[in-house]
């Protein structure tokens, strides 16, 4: 209890200058003002990259999957790497918003909206890749269990099908959770919007008639708690299911019981890194220095360090088990990972995921905006290569030496990968201009009561 009080006090001092609720509204809703040149320029870049990616995909559908760089036996490549990467990114959103909510970790308040939207958009991005990688995407609906005259059902034993359900469930829950948290804030935005303008009508519709009455707050808080409770197991289960795409296969380097926890930790690791990557420029661009402080950064950095250690441990365990199992195939695959043709990818992953985050033992780095941004970029890169290593290197040197080969991605795959970032950032750019990127209502909860006196005094004085 005392700790929580002290946290609140610390927060209060942080907001010493922002003494009025109005100012919270002003500052946060200022992000919704008419976009500037910078925003428009970013949007133009993003749309161009996305356009190229769409063209590349159309070309791939028309010509055949061969325009991607697949070299059998590497039948999964950058697309699946991207898929796992984005699913991973999607995970820390729910972690930060739901699990930290349940644990009452209040440092989440400033960043949870960003991470929740990141979750939703990352799932939307990830969900594209299973389609993009299909040989015959025009028959994707065969994966959906719909009643049909042929009495054909999908194969419920296939991890790919579990994946389909896991991702769609996760998308549903995380978007509902995001929306629920947004309702009071949308109402605040509604109240600020020009009456009868497009925005006003949009916000009126989305705020579902929110008036901030006591009973509404009570229901809201209950619902939010339940949703947080519902979302929490998903954080663990969804990425476990994704990891089973690999762990259920017999491919050496994939077939491992550690994969579920290992992937969950990796997902949180990459997600936290992505939150930092997003929050640092956002804070700068919208002058939110008073709301997102070194205190938040420090806490995110600690989370990053913790997950980095878990991931590092998982890497080591993989090698131990490969040796301990006595399986020639396992041993060969892990030895090759360190020394073979794909060793470069593997070493990028170790350096970015294990060695660079060790710098976070230093508080100076943990509280430096610049360095944390740099570290988060490295972690993003490292986690992408982790998936690349696992997927591609394992397939490239499977059981049959006759079929060993080397895969490198084609321009189509790189375009679509770049396009996935563009797609993600397109949504994110739209989001910051249409919806409040910080939780106004929750920020206000943190203002200590005594400030309310001060506010009244100030108002009276003026």
């Amino acid at each position: 209890m005392s700790e929580s009080t002290s946290t609140v006090n610390r927060r209060a001092s942080g907001l010493a200058q922002a003494t009025v609720f109005r100012r919270v509204n002003d500052d946060v809703l200022a992000t919704l003002q008419r976009p500037g040149v910078g925003w428009a320029a970013l949007m133009a870049v993003v749309l161009t990259v996305l356009g190229v990616a769409i063209a590349a995909w159309v070309y791939q559908i028309k010509t055949g999957l061969g325009v991607a760089g697949y070299v059998p036996p590497v039948m999964w490549g950058v697309y699946i790497t991207d898929f796992v990467f984005w699913v991973g990114i999607a995970h820390s959103g729910t972690l930060i918003s739901a699990i930290l909510f349940l644990f009452r970790a209040q440092f989440r308040t400033a960043v949870y909206r960003v991470s929740e939207t990141m979750t939703v958009f990352a799932v939307m991005t990830a969900g594209l890749f299973p389609l993009i990688h299909l040989g015959r995407v025009w028959y994707f609906y065969y994966l959906i269990p719909y009643p049909n005259e042929r009495l054909l059902w999908p194969n419920f034993r296939s991890p790919l099908l579990w994946d389909f359900f896991a991702i769609s469930t996760y998308f549903t829950i995380s978007s509902l959770f995001l929306y629920l948290g947004l309702i009071p804030d949308i109402a605040a935005a509604r109240d600020r919007a020009e009456p009868r303008s497009f925005r006003h009508r949009l916000y009126s519709l989305l705020s579902l008639g929110w008036q901030g009455t006591d009973s509404q707050w009570r229901h809201y808080n209950r619902a939010y708690l339940f949703m947080a409770g519902l979302a929490t197991p998903l954080v663990l289960s969804v990425h476990s299911v994704v990891s089973w795409d690999f762990a259920m296969a017999i491919v050496p380097g994939w077939h491992s019981t550690i994969f579920a926890p290992y992937f969950v930790a990796g997902a949180i690791f990459s997600g936290v890194a992505m939150v930092i990557t997003l929050v640092v420029p956002l804070r700068k661009a919208f002058h939110l220095e008073d709301y997102i402080e070194e205190y938040h950064l420090n806490n995110l950095a600690k989370l990053l360090l913790l997950t980095s250690l878990i991931v590092f441990y998982a890497y080591l365990v993989e090698f131990f088990i490969a040796w301990y199992s006595g399986s020639e195939f396992e041993k060969a695959i892990f030895w090759d990972r360190l020394t073979g043709k794909y060793a470069w990818a593997c070493w990028i992953m170790y350096i970015c995921n294990c060695f660079i985050p060790m710098s976070l033992w230093s508080k100076r780095i943990r509280t430096s905006w610049f360095w944390m941004f740099v570290v988060s970029i490295f972690v993003n890169i490292g986690m992408w290569f982790e998936r690349f290593s696992i997927i591609i290197q394992s397939l490239a040197r499977e059981f049959m030496p006759y079929q060993w080969d080397y895969y490198s991605a084609s321009w189509v795959e790189w375009s679509i990968t770049a396009g996935s970032f563009a797609w993600f950032f397109m949504w994110f750019l739209l989001f910051v201009k249409f919806l409040p990127s910080m939780a106004i209502a929750e920020l206000k909860e943190l203002l200590p009561p005594k400030l309310r006196h001060q506010q009244e005094e100030l108002e009276r004085a003026s």
Partner: protein, 983 residues
């Protein structure tokens, strides 16, 4: 809505839709047979017996046609040459028939431009040209490839009639072997080598399992001699042993128990020294094993040991191939003959009385003479049929330039090859599958060639064209005529002796020919002058003779032969059995040498000989001597078609001179230097890693253990041992079948015939070199070739055919999200193309990596698509495919049996899969594992059976029978004595 209104609406929209459809499709002519052809039942194939003409071996074939189109070839089981088997090139004869680059009709070439002519005009022009050539002897030359039988006689007769000289040229004409046999045995022919009957076969460079003389026949014979078929198959006096003496571990040598890597040009010295050790005199007198060891690099003890075995066993020494294509070729072949005599093989395993007609005496020398006459302006008209000297002669001969001196040049080639493109008039012949003819592959065997379908293009049989020309010229003074209206009449009357009556003729056509006992029995003589003018010493090669120079071995490539098959895309894509490369000409270099040169696989080097230079990518190969490099023949065409262009032609490196005694070409005669160019191209190897990294994929067992192995003890000790009974459980309880295979690694030679047969049967597309570079080749069956580097320094090869294992617990099945991969009632692992969405998860999870993905929709250029098997679905882009165990044949067999008796079960051996059907060594046995008496069950229960990657517990339906090594007579003894050859 009212009921009436609804019905009205349905009626109107329905009619509207149908009208729209009609308009869209347009009028179509559907004309049924009013009088259906007697022998055509829609949906049922019609078979014609004929003879394969893809090489001079002349195997009998059954040509499968559907609705009037040839779709596949299979060996004719009645033909004594091949007994139902066929090689890869024979399987792909359809791609010669449907070659999209074939000439579509007669053409005239003027100033490099092709112009269409009609046949009458073409024949008129030919007659005109012949008249204009004058009556000087030798002014008209008819140049043909090797022909036997009636067509050979016809060409001679016609040449006489029009006053032409006939020249016969074949790139691999075995000139030296013929000359040596003339000298030693008194008959210039390839004798009947009884490989099957021998106990010890030693080959001095002859690639008899791949490209030499009659590879299918020899493959069968070799497997009879050598393949382990169970303890009872081993002869009481010991098992068959095969030793190969050659500088490079060729496909044939890779099946040897011992590879003796003699320096190039010294193989025969080893033979002489063996003869010497057996006490032979004459040329062998001075060649003691010790002296031979000095020049050949083969240990003297090895030579003595080989001589001992040769004497002790019923033995056979084979000359020819790369061991008899150098400047001392005739001496080399004589040396081997002398060894055969010294060892008592002549008259026993070497039967001179029945000879194989696979050679042409002095063929190459006659081309040199022809070139001289052409350059001298003595040849006024040159007619070329079935041979392509512009491609296959070394440029130093000057044939191409000499052609310009001939005022009138005519080609009868069915395609526009290099020689044809230098001609004025192109009068394309039918391909053999459209032609009448016959072939005499050996004494007493007369095979018929009959057309299996109507001609694809506007071509005409060359003999008919010649008869027509004769009729045009008949007015000319003094031109004798041939007594025949058509070529068919001529053929028919030529056969009047053996099949005169209509009934006998029909019977001969049905059987594919007439086989009689050979009648000629010449006396075996050894004239004292057998070694007249021969130098038996080691042959030196042109070149600097220093450390930087390598002896160049140039050998026919299995799929290309002499280059005639180069426009077959499937053959181009076939993995070379030695390097597994394709679509290009590579140079094989020992890995240590490559390291020294600073090159790796795919690095392009300039290969320079004293006679020319070419560039080629390096492929490292541990099965070649360090002082030797090797290049395959057959690629690097400048004409012939769209698929033939890849690679370079190594004959550009070769000298133009003639082997002085036999009159053959010098394929082994130069040293080359290698200069890296810095460029790199994909090595186009099908195989990733050359070794199996101790993974026990292709397993072997020493003979001593094989003889006493107990059934049921197979497996490598990791998993629960698999039994046939267990595999048989992996089908439905109600099904009488569990299909499975037993594949003998001891019989498999790696000849790739199964690969080609599978491609023909199952419509497997070729993908082209750009896609092979990305390993996207589609072949459902592949021959994995693993090099075993033994502790003794020996390099051994294991071949293992790999295709879908139809696992009982198939890892591919549960991961498919849409049930495209599922297990059917008969234990087959089935792939439903229509259901497949292309997640490729099944392939990731297949430990055997035998699933192939359609990265594109692959197409066959017209008319190549005519060869597609209508019983097998074509696959579109985005779909996974794999070996089906020829499910169309399974179903056809079940239907046939059910027509007789609803309850009956398909009996063992009732049908064969395509790979099994063609395998020359019968390495593949297919059948029902649920039937305990089926051959496959028995083999799979045998002591040598194992499953690949058994520890994964996938319960495959494919059982492999281990390769048997360390045959007591050779290897154990050699290695124990510290002998043998290290490379």
């Amino acid at each position: 809505m009212e009921r009436r209104e609804f019905l009205k609406l349905v009626g109107v929209t329905g009619a509207g839709t149908m009208t729209a459809c009609d308009q869209k499709v347009g009028p179509q002519a559907l004309i049924p047979y009013l009088v259906p052809p007697e022998d055509v039942t829609p949906g049922i194939p019609t078979w014609y017996a004929s003879t394969c003409r893809e090489c001079p071996a002349g195997c009998g074939v059954h040509v499968k046609t559907r609705d009037g189109r040839v779709i596949k070839l299979e060996g004719n089981p009645d033909n004594p040459v091949n007994e139902g088997k066929l090689c890869a090139r024979g399987q792909m004869a359809t791609q010669r028939l449907y070659d999209p680059d074939r000439l579509r009709g007669p053409r005239r070439i003027e100033n490099g431009e092709q112009a269409e002519v009609d046949w009458a005009a073409g024949i008129e022009q030919l007659a005109e040209g012949l008249r204009g050539a004058g009556a000087e002897p030798g002014s008209i030359v008819l140049l043909t490839g090797l022909e036997t039988g009636t067509r050979d006689r016809f060409y001679d007769e016609w040449a006489t009639a029009v006053g032409a000289t006939r020249v016969v040229y074949e790139p691999f004409a075995h000139e030296a072997v013929l000359e040596a046999n003339r000298r030693v045995f008194g008959r210039a022919a390839v004798p009947d080598y009884d490989i099957a009957g021998a106990e010890f076969v030693i080959s001095f460079g002859a690639d008899f399992l791949g490209t030499w003389v009659s590879p299918v026949r020899y493959g069968r014979a070799w497997s009879e001699m050598h393949a382990f078929r169970g303890v009872e198959s081993v002869r009481p006096d010991g098992e068959g042993v095969f030793v190969a003496v050659e500088p490079r571990l060729s496909m044939t040598a890779s099946n040897a128990d011992e590879w003796v890597a003699a320096r190039p040009g010294t193989e025969h010295v080893v033979a002489l020294a063996m003869a010497n050790a057996l006490g032979a005199n004459g040329p062998a007198a001075g060649w003691t094993p010790a002296r031979a060891a000095e020049v050949s690099g083969v240990d003297a003890g090895t030579i003595e040991h080989l001589a001992e075995i040769f004497e002790a066993k019923r033995s056979l020494a084979l000359p020819g191939g790369i061991g008899a294509a150098h400047r001392g070729a005739t001496a080399a072949a004589v040396a081997v003959n002398l060894l055969n005599q010294a060892g008592g093989a002549v008259g026993d395993t070497v039967q001179v009385d029945t000879a194989i007609t696979g050679g042409v005496s002095g063929a190459y020398r006659s081309m040199i003479e022809l070139t001289e006459r052409m350059s001298g302006g003595q040849v006024k008209a040159l007619l070329v049929a079935h041979t392509n000297p512009v491609y296959s002669l070394p440029p130093g001969v000057g044939f191409e330039d000499a052609l310009d001196e001939v005022p009138f040049r005519v080609s009868f080639s069915s395609g526009l090859d290099e020689t044809a493109s230098h001609c004025h008039l192109l009068l394309p012949d039918h391909t053999p599958l459209e032609s009448w003819g016959d072939w005499v592959p050996e004494d007493g065997v007369m095979s018929l060639i009959q057309p299996a379908m109507r001609p694809v293009f506007d071509t005409r049989p060359t003999p008919d064209v010649m008869l027509d020309v004769g009729r045009v010229m008949v007015g000319d003074e003094g031109t004798p005529t041939i007594e025949a209206e058509t070529w068919y009449d001529y053929l028919r009357s030529a056969w009047s002796d053996v099949a005169g009556s209509e009934q006998a003729w029909a019977e001969a056509l049905r059987a594919g020919g007439v086989w009689q006992a050979a009648t000629t029995v010449p006396t075996v003589t050894t004239p004292a002058a057998a070694d007249d003018g021969l130098d038996f010493g080691p042959v030196s090669f042109d070149g600097p003779q220093d450390d930087g120079a390598f002896d160049l071995v140039v050998q026919p490539q299995l799929a290309m032969y002499d280059g005639r098959s180069a426009n077959s895309p499937t053959l181009q894509e076939l993995a070379d059995p030695v390097t597994t490369s394709c679509w290009q000409t590579w140079i094989e270099v020992h890995p240590d040498v490559a390291t020294g040169l600073g090159v790796k696989d795919g690095d392009v080097v300039t290969v320079t000989s004293p006679h020319g230079s070419v560039t080629a990518p390096v492929i490292t190969y541990a099965g070649i001597r360090r002082d030797t490099v090797s290049m395959p023949l057959g690629r690097g065409h400048t004409a012939m078609g769209r698929f033939a262009k890849g690679g370079v032609n190594p004959v550009e490196l070769l000298p133009a001179d003639v082997e002085p005694n036999g009159g053959g070409p010098i394929y082994q005669g130069v040293q080359v230097t290698l200069t890296p160019t810095g460029a790199w191209v994909p090595p186009l190897k099908h195989q990733g890693s050359d070794t199996q990294h101790d993974r026990e994929i292709a397993q072997a067992i020493p003979m001593a253990e094989a003889l006493h192995a107990e059934p049921g003890h197979h497996g490598n000790g990791h998993g629960e041992p698999l039994t046939v009974a267990r595999a048989a459980e992996d089908s439905g309880d109600d099904s009488p079948y569990r299909w499975g295979m037993a594949i003998s690694l001891d019989a498999c030679t790696g000849c790739n015939a199964c690969v080609a047969a599978c491609a023909a049967e199952n419509n497997i597309p070729f993908v082209g070199p750009e896609r092979v570079a990305k390993s996207r080749q589609m072949s459902w069956i592949r021959i994995e070739r693993f090099l075993e580097h033994e502790e003794s320094g020996h390099v051994k090869t294991r071949h293992i055919p790999m295709m879908c294992q139809h696992c009982g617990a198939a890892p591919c099945e549960p991961v498919c999200p849409v049930y495209a991969a599922y297990h059917n009632d008969e234990g087959l692992n089935v792939q439903v193309y229509n259901r497949c969405v292309g997640t490729r998860y099944c392939s990731n999870n297949c430990p055997y990596k035998v699933r192939y993905f359609n990265y594109f929709t692959y197409e066959w250029p017209e008319p190549m698509s005519w060869a597609l098997n209508p019983d097998v679905t074509l696959r579109e882009k985005g779909v996974m495919e794999k070996c089906t165990y020829c499910v169309q044949r399974i179903n056809a067999a079940k239907n046939t049996v059910r027509d007789e008796d609803l309850e009956a079960v398909v009996p063992d051996g009732f049908f064969q899969t395509a790979c099994q059907q063609t395998c020359p060594t019968e390495a593949i046995v297919f059948g029902n594992l649920k039937d305990p008496d089926s051959q496959v069950s028995k083999l799979s229960r045998g002591p040598l059976a194992y499953s690949v990657l058994e520890e994964l517990n996938t319960r495959p339906a494919n059982f492999y029978l281990k390769k048997v090594t360390n045959r007591t007579s050779s290897e154990v003894a050699l290695e124990a004595a510290g002998l043998g050859t290290e490379v």
